[in-house]
Each structure stands twice: as C-alpha cells, then as structure tokens.
C-alpha cells in the first residue's frame, strides 16, 4: 500500500539530486527574477519596500508554476506514467508522493530564500515572519493545485504555457491571501486571519488535489 508512496518519493528526490541543478533552479530563477524588478522599476529603497510583499509573492508563484510543469512530463515521455497507471496501488497516493517531492524540491527552498530577497527589496522587519509562514503553506497549495493542471496537460504536445492558463485562475486566491498576509503585517495589522485562511486552503487542496490529479492523469492517458 504505502510501497508506491515511499518508492516514488525517494526516486523523485534521487532524480532531483542526480541532476544537481534541479533543486537550485527554481530558487535561482526566483532570485534572478527578483533582481530584475529594481532594474525595470526603480532602485529606490522606499518605493521597493512598498511593492516588496506583492512582488515576492508573485515571483514565488511563478517559480512554482514553472517548475510544476515538469511534474509528470518526464514520466510521461519515457513511459513510466503509463506503468504507474497500471500498478496495483492507489494512484492518488502516488500522486501525493510526487507532489510532496515537488514541494520539497521547490516550495521549501523558495520559502527559505525569501527573507534574503526581502532584505534586498528593503522589506520592513515586521514582514519577514509572515512572509515565511505564508510561503511555507502557500507553496504547498501551489504545488497541489499545479499538479491538477500538470495532470490535465501532460499528454498534450506542447503543454507549455497552456498550463499557466489553466492553473493561474486557481492560484489567485493563494496569491491574494499570501500577499496580503505580508502586507498587513507590514502595515501593523494582525495576520492570523489570512494565515488561517491559508491553512484552510491547504487542508482543502490536500483533500481534493490528489484525487483530481489522479482523475486528470487517467483522462490524459486513456485519451
């Protein structure tokens, strides 16, 4: 029963370490994109501080989105996905393992890097803890939601940016609550409200996403 779960989790982490870049990549993307912002906008610390919460969250969302595209891609291309579908193990558990691996490889490092980038964008001190907390839960939600989209588009030649189209509307609540958690903290308001909502989103997507993704994969493959 749990054999599939741990086998997949372990293999995905092994694969990520094997192509060393894979772990560093979303993080570096996040880093570089955030440095693009001052170049495009303004180097002034005070103006950067104003937009820092929103920019950090938008860019973390993009980094997560772009990496979720590959979630089932390589398994599909080499036939592993077909094999997983005819494995006598519950598919939703295997999906959950893949999502967990994705979060460990992407969401967690992003969360840990965020304070450094906050510093570079002159984020006020009050914002750091809420930033980390909201990203910690938020990136997990993003991975879970993204998996559904990745499952739906996996068999399409050139899923590419189509995935963005499908997934982004679903990402919006996460972005709104995530960014406003940080913004409220910076403005001196309490943040347990939005954080609680984020927790609820996480619980909800944990319940829904593995089944929806499993269904999406079945549809994609039997097409």
């Amino acid at each position: 029963m749990g054999g599939g779960f741990s086998a997949i989790l372990q293999r995905d982490l092994l694969l990520a370490f094997r192509h060393r870049g894979e772990i560093a990549n979303p993080v570096i993307f996040f880093f570089i994109v955030v440095t693009l912002i001052p170049l495009g906008l303004t180097p002034e610390a005070s103006r950067l501080a104003e937009i820092a919460p929103g920019i950090l969250w938008v860019m973390a969302l993009l980094a997560s989105l772009l990496s979720v595209e590959g979630l089932f891609q390589s398994d599909y291309r080499d036939g592993t996905l077909e094999q997983l579908l005819i494995t006598p193990q519950p598919l939703y558990l295997m999906v959950l393992a893949k999502v967990l691996a994705h979060w460990l490889i992407t969401g967690l490092p992003l969360t840990l890097l965020a304070p450094v980038l906050g510093m570079m964008l002159s984020l006020p001190t009050a914002g750091y803890l809420p930033l980390v907390l909201s990203l910690l839960m938020g990136t997990a939600v993003l991975s879970l939601i993204g998996a559904i989209g990745a499952g739906l588009t996996v068999a399409l030649r050139k899923g590419g940016l189509l995935l963005s189209l499908i997934v982004m509307p679903l990402y919006m609540p996460v972005l709104i609550f995530g960014a406003s958690t940080v913004q409220r903290a910076v403005d001196g308001f309490p943040v347990d409200g939005p954080l609680a909502v984020m927790g609820a989103l996480l619980a909800f997507s944990l319940l829904i996403s593995p089944f929806a993704t499993a269904g999406a994969l079945r549809v994609s493959m039997h097409g």
């Binding site: 192509h19 570089i32 440095t35 170049l39 180097p43 002034e44 610390a45 950067l48 510093m119 002159s122």
Partner: protein
C-alpha cells in the same frame, strides 16, 4: 614560438613547472596578506566619516578587483581552449569559475556588511553593486553549465561559448546599469567615490591587492593541478607520480 605554445599546452609540463613555482607563490601570498591584514586592521588610521568600519575596504576592494579580473581569466582561457583546442586552457577555465564566483561572493558579502553601519541597510541597488550581482549570476551560469554536461569535452566547449558571450556582454551590462542608476538618481547615499585616499590608508590597500592577486594565482594553480591529475589519472606519468607520494597518504589509501 609554436613549440613553446605547445609545451605550454601540455598539462604534464604545466604540472611540473607550476609545482616548482607554487611554494614561492604561496609564501609570497601569505606574507602579503598577513602584512596587509595586520596593517589594515591595526595600523591604518581610521576614516573620518566612517570610523573603523572603513577597515572592511581591505578585503572588499581587492575581492571586487579579482572577481572581475577572474572573469576575464576564465573567458580568455575558454577562448584559447575553444580555438586552439588546448586541453590545459579548458582546465584553467573550469578551475577559474568557482574561484571567481567565490571572490564575487566575498565582495558582495563584505560590501553588504559594510553597508549596514554606513547606510543603515544591508543592500541598496547601487550601480556597481548591481553589476557585481549580475557578474555573480554570470559565474553561476558557467558553473551550472559545466556540471550539467556529462561529457567533459562538451562541457568545456559550452561553458567557453557562454563565458565568451558573457565577456562581450560585461561592458554592455556595466554601462547599462550605470546609465540606469544615473537615470534614477535616487535619494539614497551614493558609494563613497574613492576619496583621494590618505597614503597611510592607501598603502595597506595596495599590499592587500597584491596579496589577493598572488592568492588568486595560488588558488587557480592548485585547482588546475587537481583537475589535471583527475583528467590524466589513467596516464603513465600520473600513475608513476602517485607511487612516489608520501607514505602518509598511501596509508590513508589502504582503508
């Protein structure tokens, strides 16, 4: 001339020659660096405006110099490797990348630390600082490419192409970042334009810069030598040389 060039291209020749130079260079680097550090930390007068935090300059500026110079070392040796298919140049390029990246990192970190007492913040989007950050990314790109290829030959060529493209771009990047910064003319404090420095402050800086150059050479040679050993590990001369290594290391080899 060509014979000389080819001999220079021989890893084995380089290994032997650099082995003779290395001790002298290391000693020189150590002397210069310790002299510079003691002088800079203890004996240079303190800055009128910045007080003692100014002493960070003795690392910050040499590291920044070498970070930039290191990129040219890397790109030029990459070009030599690409054009003349000189294996040694490829190895120098591969070794230069992480050293340059580390020195860039040192420049960034010391600068950031210096920023706190001076500007009250660890980071500002100053033109030079931003360019330095971009340089850091360029280095990371080359390193990442090096490690992404499985074939060493392809990795060398690919990162040579990238570092060449990067080298062409560095002046453009610097100019554009400079222009971007002057365009915005932000209200924040600008970097102290090296005020006509008092000789008592300047001399230790000079010593440190020289020391960093020597240190860079030592690090580069050390890394290149290991790279040579690694790539030639199956050749006769490396096998023979290993047999002559000190007993202590052989004993390590047993377990």
């Amino acid at each position: 001339m060509w014979q000389w060039f080819h001999r220079l291209g021989s890893p084995r020749w380089f290994y032997n020659t650099s082995g003779k130079w290395l001790p002298w260079l290391s000693v020189l680097a150590a002397i210069l660096l310790s002299l510079g550090v003691v002088w800079g930390l203890g004996f240079a007068p303190q800055d009128a405006k910045q007080g003692n935090s100014f002493r960070i300059i003795y690392i910050h500026v040499p590291a920044s110099f070498l970070a930039l110079a290191g990129y040219y070392v890397m790109a030029i040796s990459g070009a030599v490797g690409l054009i003349w298919k000189m294996k040694l140049a490829d190895m120098v390029m591969k070794s230069a990348a992480p050293i340059g990246a580390v020195l860039t990192f040192v420049a960034l970190v010391t600068g950031a630390i210096w920023g706190k007492p001076t500007w009250g913040t660890y980071w500002v989007w100053d033109a030079r600082i931003t360019s330095m950050l971009v340089l850091f990314f360029l280095y990371l790109g080359v390193i990442a490419l090096q490690y992404s290829y499985t074939s060493q030959d392809a990795a060398s060529k690919a990162s040579a192409v990238l570092s060449l493209v990067g080298m062409v771009n560095i002046p453009i990047i610097y100019k554009s970042v400079d222009w971007w910064y002057t365009l915005h003319q932000p209200a924040t404090i600008r970097l102290t334009e090296a005020p006509s420095m008092h000789p008592d402050m300047f001399h230790p800086l000079l010593v440190m810069i020289l020391g960093f150059y020597c240190f860079y050479a030592v690090a580069l040679i050390l890394n290149t030598r290991v790279e040579i050993l690694y790539r030639e590990r199956r050749t006769r001369w490396v096998q023979d040389m290993v047999l002559e290594t000190p007993v202590s290391e052989i004993r390590e080899g047993q377990n």
